[in-house]
């Protein structure tokens, strides 16, 4: 049976400090991955380096990954996840969320690379003819 090449919409809960958490996509689709970069672009002309919007650096990846969070406002009311809410966090809390996403992405990438190595090994061994004793 061939492997499924499509991203399955599975979510993962990432713990934050003080008992808070993020619910994030386990991995991004190709389209979402492209969006993380293209949403950063302010201007782009053929043959020239793209000009990125510095205000959005770090934000587009978080917005692509996060599905929900447990954060509440000063009155203890849940605050739905949004780019606007993200931009109203303290810099330290924004950095904590950005790091949690980066660590999650790195862990998924590492697992994917390990899986590829196993598959490559299996393919190589299946292509090798058994030796014939003479």
């Amino acid at each position: 049976m061939s492997r499924c090449r499509f991203v399955q919409p599975e979510s993962v809960r990432l713990p934050l400090s003080d008992g808070d958490y993020l619910d994030v996509k386990r991995e991004l689709t190709a389209g979402e991955q492209r969006g993380v970069f293209t949403d950063l672009i302010k201007t782009m002309h053929a043959g020239e380096a793209a000009e990125l919007d510095p205000k959005l650096v770090g934000t587009t990846k978080i917005v692509a990954y996060v599905l929900a969070w447990s954060l509440t406002d000063a009155a203890g009311q849940p605050v739905p996840f949004s780019e606007a809410a993200l931009n109203n966090l303290t810099p330290e809390d924004f950095a904590e969320i950005a790091k949690a996403i980066d660590d999650h992405e790195a862990a998924v990438e590492k697992a994917r690379a390990a899986r590829k190595n196993v598959q490559a090994g299996e393919t190589a061994s299946s292509l090798t003819s058994p030796s014939v004793a003479g």
Partner: protein, 90 residues
């Protein structure tokens, strides 16, 4: 209401595959037929054909403090018309 049958209607809803939006829906209605099966009808505003072909799918109606969610059992989309049999999500 039709006799003892309850119909729920709404303006905005979404078909989802896991967390992924599969279709944006409007003018939706849920009614129970004589066999007790809950049927969803809706107008499809926009859809991702791949996601809409995947299973399991849910029908989600956003609410001020969360969402109402039903599990899709069978689904037909013809043009902009969606018809599905559904169950409340457990």
């Amino acid at each position: 209401m039709d006799g003892n049958r309850l119909t729920i209607k709404g303006a905005v809803g979404e078909l989802r595959w896991g967390y992924s939006p599969a279709a944006s829906l409007s003018s939706w209605a849920i009614a129970t037929d004589s066999a007790g099966v809950m049927r969803l009808t809706a107008t499809v505003i926009q859809q991702d054909a791949f996601r809409a072909s995947q299973r399991p799918l849910t029908f989600v109606v956003p609410r001020p403090t969360g969402a109402w969610t039903w599990t899709i059992h069978s689904l037909q989309i013809a043009g902009s018309t969606l018809v599905a049999s559904i169950n409340p999500q457990e």
